[in-house]
C-alpha cells in the first residue's frame, strides 16, 4: 500500500489530465440521473461534486470515481415521487450513517459471499431499468425527438473509433445541442427541468420533521441505497484492483462512501456511489491517484458554474440518447454466453435476480434474494453424499452435515451382511448432526445383529466424533 503522499502526488500530471476527462464524462450522466429521479439538475450535480471530492480524501481505492449514479437514482425515484426532495436528502444522510456503520463492521468481507451470478443479475437488471426509464419519455414523441436521440446514439458509438481524447457523450451533446440551436427546432431542454447551479453548494438541514414517522419512510430507502451503493462501489474497486494490479482497502472504501453520502445530504445532493464506467475512463486516461478523483469533482463544478447558461439549452432527447448508451454498456452482453456455459443453478440465480429486480423495481431486494438463493443451491450442491457398497465395505463420499445426513441414513436401510465397515476416507464430519447420524446407523444395525466398524475418519472428523460421542 502506498503512502498517502504517493496516493495524492505520485502521478500528478496524468491524474490532473485524467481528472479533467472524467469531469467532462460525469456531466451528461449526472444530468440524466437527475432526470430519472425527477429532481432539479442541481441535486445530481452538487452530489457528483461533493461525493467525488470527499471520496478522494476518505475513499479506500485511489482513482475510484464516485458521484451521482443511475443505480442510486433508480432507488430514489419512488421516494421523490411520494415525498419530495427533502426526504431524498434525509435518506441520503441516513444512507451515509448506515454505510459508515457497515464499513466499520467490515461489510466488505461479505463481498466474497456474493457470487458473480448475482452481480451479473444486478448489472443486467440495472441496464434494463435505465433503458426502461427512457421509454416513457420517447413514447409518443414527435419525429424530431427520435431523430435527435438516434443521432446522439450514432455519435456516441462512432466518434470513439476516430477520437478518444474527449468522452464521446460530451462530444455528442455539444454537437447535437449546436445543431438544435442553429436549426431552431423546438425540443424540450434541460432548462425545463429546473435551474442550473450558479454557485457552490451550501450547507443546510433537510427540512423534515425529526420523528419516527420520517424514519419509517426513509429507512427502507436508505437501507436499499446502502446495499446498492456498497455493491457497486466494491465491484468497481475490484475491477480497478485488477486493472492496476494494486490492492485496496474495501472497508475503508465502504466507510468513505458513507462519509461522502452523509455530508452530501446536507449540501443538497442525492445519494451516490462509485461509477464503473467513469472509473474505467479514469484508468484508461492514466489516472491512478486520489488527485484524479479530486480533479474530476472540482472540474465538474467549475464547468457547471461557468457553462450553466449553455447547459440549460441541451435538448432532452440528446440526454435520452446518452442514457440509452449508458444502459447498453451497463448490461453485460456476455451474459448470454454465461447462460450457455455456466452451471444451471448459476444461470437460474442470475435470471431470478434480474426477474425480481424488474418485478419489484428494487435492486437491493433482488440482490439479497439472489444471494440467499445461491447459498441454498450451494448447500444443496455440496450436501450430495454417495455411499458405495462393496463386500461389506461402505464407502462414504461427500461431506456429512445437517443437510446430507438423511441420505446417509437411508443408505443403510437394507444391510444384508453380518459385519460391515463404514469408510469415511473421502468424507468429512462437520457437525452434531453428522455424529448423531453415525450413532443412529450404528445403533440400529447393532440391534439387528450387524457388527459395525468405523474407519478412515480424518483427524478433525475424528476429534469431532470423540468430542460429541
Amino acid at each position: 500500500m502506498h503512502t498517502l503522499k504517493q496516493q495524492w502526488f505520485g502521478n500528478v500530471r496524468a491524474d490532473i489530465l485524467a481528472g479533467i476527462v472524467v469531469g467532462l464524462a460525469l456531466i451528461p450522466e449526472a444530468l440524466a440521473f437527475a432526470f430519472i429521479v425527477g429532481v432539479d439538475p442541481r441535486v445530481a450535480l452538487y452530489a457528483s461534486f461533493t461525493i467525488a471530492v470527499i471520496t478522494s480524501f476518505v475513499g479506500g481505492r485511489p482513482g475510484l470515481i464516485s458521484a451521482a449514479t443511475g443505480a442510486m437514482a433508480l432507488v430514489l425515484v419512488n421516494l421523490m415521487a411520494d415525498h419530495g426532495l427533502q426526504y431524498v436528502l434525509a435518506a441520503t444522510v441516513l444512507t451515509g450513517v448506515i454505510q459508515l456503520i457497515l464499513g466499520g463492521l467490515g461489510v466488505a468481507n461479505l463481498m466474497r459471499f456474493i457470487p458473480n451470478s448475482v452481480m451479473l443479475g444486478f448489472v443486467n437488471a440495472l441496464g434494463i431499468m435505465i433503458f426502461i426509464t427512457q421509454l416513457p419519455y420517447l413514447k409518443g414523441s414527435n419525429a424530431m425527438t427520435y431523430l435527435f436521440a438516434i443521432a446522439t446514439l450514432v455519435l456516441v458509438y462512432v466518434v470513439p473509433r476516430f477520437f478518444t481524447a474527449i468522452p464521446a457523450p460530451l462530444i455528442a451533446i455539444v454537437v447535437m445541442t449546436g445543431i438544435a440551436l442553429l436549426s431552431g427546432v423546438s425540443l424540450q431542454t434541460i432548462g425545463d427541468l429546473g435551474k442550473m447551479p450558479s454557485s457552490l453548494p451550501t450547507f443546510f438541514l433537510p427540512d423534515i420533521p425529526l420523528n419516527l414517522e420520517t424514519l419509517k419512510i426513509i429507512f427502507p430507502y436508505s437501507l436499499a441505497l446502502s446495499i446498492v451503493g456498497l455493491l457497486e462501489s466494491l465491484l468497481t474497486s475490484q475491477v480497478l484492483d485488477d486493472m492496476t494490479d494494486t490492492p485496496s482497502d474495501k472497508n475503508k472504501e465502504a466507510r468513505g462512501q458513507g462519509i461522502a453520502n452523509f455530508i452530501t445530504g446536507f449540501f443538497g445532493g442525492m445519494a451516490g456511489c462509485a461509477l464503473i464506467g467513469q472509473s474505467i475512463i479514469n484508468m484508461k486516461s492514466g489516472g491512478r491517484g486520489r488527485l484524479s478523483t479530486f480533479t474530476a469533482g472540482v472540474f465538474l463544478m467549475f464547468l457547471i458554474i461557468v457553462l450553466g447558461d449553455v447547459v440549460v439549452k441541451i435538448p432532452m432527447p440528446v440526454l435520452a440518447g446518452v442514457m440509452i448508451m449508458v444502459a447498453m454498456t451497463t448490461f453485460n452482453w456476455s451474459s448470454f454466453k454465461f447462460l450457455k456455459q455456466a452451471p444451471k443453478t448459476e444461470s437460474v440465480v442470475m435470471l431470478i435476480t434480474v426477474a425480481i429486480i424488474l418485478y419489484t423495481h428494487n435492486l437491493a431486494i433482488g440482490v439479497v434474494i439472489g444471494v440467499v438463493l445461491s447459498s441454498l443451491f450451494f448447500v444443496a450442491n455440496i450436501s450430495r453424499v454417495t455411499v458405495t457398497r462393496n463386500e461389506g465395505i461402505y464407502k462414504i463420499k461427500g461431506p456429512l452435515f445437517f443437510a446430507s445426513t438423511t441420505k446417509f441414513i437411508q443408505s443403510f436401510s437394507d444391510v444384508k451382511e453380518k459385519e460391515i465397515v463404514i469408510d469415511f476416507e473421502d468424507s468429512q464430519l462437520w457437525d452434531e448432526s453428522s455424529v448423531g447420524a453415525i450413532i443412529k446407523v450404528k445403533q440400529k444395525l447393532e440391534e439387528e445383529g450387524v457388527r459395525v466398524t468405523i474407519r478412515g475418519l480424518n483427524s478433525s472428523s475424528e476429534q469431532l466424533y470423540e468430542k460429541l460421542l
Binding site: P115, M243, N332
Partner: protein, 137 residues
C-alpha cells in the same frame, strides 16, 4: 534472438504461436516471449464473469498455458508477460522496451467494416514496433 508472440487465447493466436515456435527452433538459444494483454475495455466484463480474483487469474493463465506447453514440447525456452491496458499500445511498448528481435502476431481477418468498428490490433502494432513483424493469417 528474442522472439515475441502476442496471444489472446483465440484460434489464430495459437496459429501465430505455432509459427513463432517453429521460428525459434531455427535459432539456437532463441528465447520466446509470450505476451498476453488483459484489455482494459473488457476489465468490467471479465471481472463479472469470474467467480473471484483467483478464478480470473486462472482464466487468463489458461489462455497462455497451451502456448507454453507447445513451446516446452518443441524444446523452446519460453517466458510469459501478462500485461494490462490497451492491447496494441501494451504490445508496442513491451516489444520496443524489451528490444525484441521479431514479433509474431495473429490476424483476426476482419473485413474493412469490422476493422473500422473493432480496430485491428495487428495493423496498429505493425506500424509502431521497431522490429520485423510476422502477421499470421
Amino acid at each position: 534472438m528474442k522472439i515475441a508472440v502476442a496471444i489472446d487465447g483465440s484460434e489464430n493466436a495459437l496459429r501465430a504461436a505455432r509459427h513463432a515456435i517453429t521460428l525459434a527452433q531455427h535459432f539456437p538459444g532463441a528465447q520466446l516471449e509470450i505476451i498476453y494483454v488483459a484489455d482494459y475495455n473488457k476489465a468490467k466484463d471479465e471481472r463479472l464473469l469470474a467467480q473471484s480474483e483467483e478464478s480470473l487469474l486462472l482464466k487468463r493463465q489458461r489462455k497462455i498455458d497451451p502456448v507454453l506447453e507447445l513451446a516446452h514440447h518443441a524444446g523452446v525456452k519460453a517466458k510469459t508477460a501478462l500485461l494490462k491496458g490497451d492491447p496494441s499500445q501494451e504490445i508496442i511498448k513491451f516489444v520496443n522496451e524489451e528490444a525484441m528481435d521479431q514479433l509474431v502476431i495473429g490476424s483476426r481477418g476482419l473485413n474493412a467494416f469490422q476493422e473500422m468498428v473493432l480496430g485491428s490490433v495487428s495493423h496498429k502494432v505493425m506500424k509502431h514496433v521497431n522490429c520485423p513483424v510476422t502477421v499470421v493469417k
